[in-house]
């Protein structure tokens, strides 16, 4: 009865402390958006200009056919964002190249089709590649383009290729990009933000001196703290949900066990709420929490792997599980567990050390 009443009151107060709630709920989704934009902006991107001077032959224009194939093949690939632009005038193409609007220029000769149709009688096909030979962007573009063109020529001339590469993605590298790797940490960050709302929910009772009224009443500390904790847990789960929805909306691929995912988020939220009790005990007002709370926030954000991957020096091992200095902060274990579940699709048995470290 009293617990329900405390929950009801906490929900009302939490809702009416709108800015605190907004801060708690919006911080991690905002970070997801920022990381997505950074990831998009920093993705490798290669621009190739093609000047097709091929006059064609009886069988058609092989230059056009290759350009079409090149554009089609690369647009289907998410791994190698090679942007192919066909330019009519080689002088204009050179100007674009010089002004760094492209990484490489390939000039197909007038007799490109004829050469392919004539076969070996015609001699080697003379294709010119132009670019800054010291630029890594040029090198990658030239290698990919050359490889693709060689394949096309072999196919057109019905030649057997002496060597074919088979590429195998290491880990999830074939499927995941940096953004996907950051999302588990950001999901934990969304629970870290609970530190503020939880500590403020507690300290306002001291700040408003309403704790005096509660002390005089028959409510027990466990009822009061349980009520506040349950509401904060709800806020934490809501924050995780918003963060996840934003991540999914931006292309994050959710994998792994949903049950484990929820369990990790609940345990992390509880550990953050427990930490907020310490913060509340060390402060007197909500303003103090908003100032002093930034110090643990920085630690939780930047030294647990929540915002950036970080590798700590192993101090010692317990049952093979490395214990680091960062391991003193619960989000470290939460990030590790969530990465294992969401990225490597690991089972509960494989994250037992993390779950134990997170357990109250």
């Amino acid at each position: 009865m009293k617990l329900l009443s405390v929950i009801r009151k906490s929900i009302r107060e939490q809702w009416r402390h709108f800015w605190i709630l907004l801060l708690t709920l919006s911080m991690a989704p905002f970070f997801v958006l920022v990381y997505y934009l950074i990831n998009e902006a920093s993705k490798p991107h290669y621009d190739l200009l093609v000047v097709n001077r091929d006059l064609g032959a009886d069988g058609g224009n092989s230059g056009e056919a290759w350009i079409g194939r090149l554009q089609g093949d690369w647009s289907d690939s998410t791994l190698a964002p090679l942007h192919v632009t066909a330019v009519d005038d080689s002088a204009a193409a050179l100007r674009l190249l010089r002004s760094r609007k492209a990484d490489a220029l390939i000039l197909l000769p007038r007799d490109f089709s004829l050469s392919l149709q004539s076969g070996e009688k015609h001699g080697p096909v003379q294709v010119e590649l132009i670019g800054d030979l010291t630029d890594i962007q040029y090198m990658v573009t030239a290698v990919w383009t050359g490889e693709h063109l060689a394949g096309f020529i072999h196919e057109q001339m019905v030649l057997n290729r002496p060597l074919v590469f088979k590429e195998t993605a290491l880990g999830m590298s074939g499927r995941l990009d940096d953004f996907d790797l950051y999302v588990p940490g950001l999901l934990i960050l969304s629970t870290v933000m609970l530190m503020f709302s939880s500590a403020i929910a507690l300290v306002t009772e001291v700040e408003n001196r309403t704790i005096l009224r509660l002390k005089l009443s028959r409510v027990k500390a466990v009822e009061l703290l349980s009520g506040i904790t349950l509401v904060q847990l709800g806020v934490g789960m809501l924050s995780v949900l918003f963060t996840l929805l934003v991540a999914l909306g931006l292309g994050f691929d959710l994998a792994g066990s949903a049950g484990l995912f929820v369990a990790i988020c609940i345990l992390t939220s509880l550990s953050i709420i427990a930490f907020s009790l310490i913060l509340a005990a060390a402060t007197r007002t909500a303003n103090e929490i908003l100032v002093i709370g930034n110090f643990p926030l920085f630690l939780f954000m930047f030294f647990t792997g929540a915002a950036f991957p970080i590798s700590g020096r192993t101090l010692f091992k317990i049952g093979g599980y490395p214990v680091t200095l960062q391991g003193l902060m619960s989000p470290t274990h939460a990030v590790s567990a969530l990465k294992k579940v969401l990225i490597f699709d690991m089972s509960c048995a494989e994250i037992v050390p993390e779950l134990l470290a997170l357990s109250p």
Partner: protein, 328 residues
């Protein structure tokens, strides 16, 4: 230390400071002492609070009133001595209206009253009914759904009082209940407190002598943590200080009072002062001596053009006991 004394009986008889005349006390303070570092806030305070009475705690700033109240409520731990409650565990039966307004700014008046009621174990329905009743009685019905943060200062003060009463406590402790109230609200609150008399035991601290005089059945005057006197306001005014002041405007004033008149007045009053046409007399229970005084003046041929009398007030008693020096 706070104990609950189920067999406690009041001390009959004497009228010394701290001693009760009644047979039924609900709270007994026994040699209560509170030290804060080197400061002794409450010094060996002993008194009994009777059931159904309104006891006013009077004292200058820093006299130890609020500290005493905190020890009664159990929110401060005595350094020595104890608070004994008769009738068993009174936790949950104490209502407190603190000096500062203590409320939840982000809850409406009804929400916080119902919440507090539930914290005292009241069923929700009963708490809602009681909240509506209290808001009605203290003129806050129209603000029932308004957030406490948006109330005016006087309304917050009244809400503060409602919060102390939501669980219908046996003992109500009011720390400066009229502070910060406009005259209309003050009358409303005063009448409300008076209406609680006999149903509840009310302990109130105040600086307002008029408030203490009008409301209290007994007044405890404390200074520097010590109890100076515990009496009814009427007895205090009758027995302490220089007494009532009588100002008589003389029709035929003389530079010096005639010898016979001066001697007669000296026998009737404690102090005589002549200022221009006005004769100022001070005496306890002046009303009893008034006929004799007028007779003396008429007989001396001084004549009486006008009479003004100001009764000895609690403030006079208070200043007499505690002095005029500023505290803190």
């Amino acid at each position: 230390m706070i104990t609950f004394d189920k067999t406690a009986r009041s001390t009959p008889g004497g009228r010394k400071a701290g001693e009760s005349r009644s047979a039924e006390h609900v709270i007994r303070l026994e040699n209560l002492t509170k030290d804060y570092d080197r400061l002794r806030a409450v010094d060996d305070l002993s008194l009994e609070i009777r059931g159904g009475e309104i006891l006013g705690f009077l004292g200058p700033n820093g006299a130890g009133k609020t500290t005493t109240i905190n020890m009664i409520c159990g929110t401060a731990r005595p350094s020595a001595g104890q608070v004994r409650f008769s009738g068993g565990d009174l936790k949950g039966h104490l209502g407190l209206c603190p000096q500062e307004n203590v409320y939840w700014p982000k809850l409406t008046c009804t929400e916080q009253l119902v919440f507090m009621g539930e914290m005292y174990g009241m069923p929700r329905r009963r708490a809602q009914k009681r909240a509506a009743e209290l808001l009605e009685r203290l003129g806050l019905s129209e603000k029932a759904r308004v957030l406490a943060a948006r109330l005016s200062g006087g309304m917050k003060r009244r809400l503060n009082l409602c919060l102390g009463l939501i669980h219908d406590p046996k003992i109500l402790i009011l720390d400066e209940p009229e502070a910060g109230l406009d005259p209309q609200s003050r009358i409303l609150v005063r009448e409300f407190i008076r209406s609680l008399a006999k149903q509840k035991t009310v302990v109130l601290t105040t600086h307002n002598m008029d408030e203490a005089d009008r409301l209290s059945d007994r007044v405890a005057i404390i200074d520097r943590g010590r109890l100076l006197l515990l009496e009814t306001p009427a007895n205090l005014k009758r027995s302490i200080g220089e007494g009532d002041i009588l100002e008589i405007t003389l029709r035929n004033p003389a530079k010096h009072l005639p010898q016979t008149a001066a001697e007669a007045l000296s026998a009737l009053t404690r102090r005589i002062q002549v200022r221009d046409k006005t004769l100022i007399l001070k005496s306890k229970d002046m009303i009893q001596s008034l006929p004799a005084i007028t007779q003396v003046l008429e007989k001396a041929g001084l004549g009486i053009a006008g009479i003004t009398m100001r009764e000895n007030t609690l403030e006079d008693v208070f200043i007499h006991l505690t002095g005029k020096n500023l505290r803190e």
